[in-house]
Symmetry: C2
Amino acid sequence: MPVRVDHEERRRQIAEALLRIADTQGLQSASMRAVAAEAGVSLRLVQYYFTTKEALLLDALDRLGGQLRARMERWIAAVGAPATPRGLVTAVLSSILPTDQESRRITRTYAAYYTLVLSDPELTGKRGTAQPDLLESFLAKQVRAAQQAGEIDAGRDPEMTAAGLLAMVNGLGSSVLGGQRSGESALTILTHHLDELFRSP
Amino acid sequence: MPVRVDHEERRRQIAEALLRIADTQGLQSASMRAVAAEAGVSLRLVQYYFTTKEALLLDALDRLGGQLRARMERWIAAVGAPATPRGLVTAVLSSILPTDQESRRITRTYAAYYTLVLSDPELTGKRGTAQPDLLESFLAKQVRAAQQAGEIDAGRDPEMTAAGLLAMVNGLGSSVLGGQRSGESALTILTHHLDELFRSP
DNA sequence: CATTTTATGATACGGGTGTACCGCGAGGGA
DNA sequence: TCCCTCGCGGTACACCCGTATCATAAAATG
């Protein structure tokens, strides 16, 4: 049987099985054996393509980050040709919020990784750490652009505003996942704050 | 040796050992044996005072909630005799932020419980679920009071504002724990937003 | 004093975990 | 054709987990 095989495809198949388990049952249920079963392969194969569990965890985390990035780009592309700052900010922030099935899956899986990173900080050696900062400065740039267009009060601090918005969206996502709030009400709260931000003084 | 013993004291001793491990190494490292060792007792004793692990987890979570409540009350009491709405809101929100050692410990431990609850929602049967809602309505009440005193623009929606603030503080806490931001800068961002909220129109 | 209850020690059981090792058939290169 | 290495199945090892069981000494109770 052992014909030449597409390694990347096999790795993807296994890593996504891990992500599926992390989403539905949490990372602590994602044992090598469970991942193998979910992917429909033998335990040996998981070991073969990812020699250690840590490698599998890290690879899957990379793929998850890619999925979130792809989703954000899709939402950004959907705002249409004249990409206004307000449209970009709204797209980025609401793409993170767990409102549909995909975003709920992504957010839940990230949450599963969160405590893992907390208890073992060197697990992610300068991996996704830079991404939130990039997002934040992107948002700050859009805020500045909106200020120059007169859509946002010039007295606001762009960095503070961006950081606050991003933190708020993260917090809203946590409360949705925790069941205290629905995704729709979280989105309502977000748009309310965006409306308030984007009103000419 | 078995003199009559203070059960509550023993339970506290063991539960706090659990919380200490959850803080420093995460909940997944908090096995019964590890808790026993940390508390300086035998495994059998942990079983004796909390027959099952779930009971121990739940009891420790209750105690953690009590610690956070006590901290908030201490911060509220510290604002002085004329308790202005702004003082109360500031006290409540900044007491949650992981700025000092105690709040960092509490926030980290709550985060450790968070994913546990996500993967097993019926673990906490209507336990701390109500507390965030109470906090939120308390904050909304203070916002309304400040509006009537003319300290906050009357056009703001109190509930939305309160929900946004609480979510922002939660998100800021996560980013501090994740190492992307210092506790001081998180506090700076919070006070910046509070300054913006509490300016007469 | 006898007996029951309380607080504790020691240890065993069944199961799940990550990893390592052995084997083996089917390509491809010499 | 010979041989090597690629892809993979099966299984074993050592360890950790939560829980259950047995034993026992001290105190409370009668």
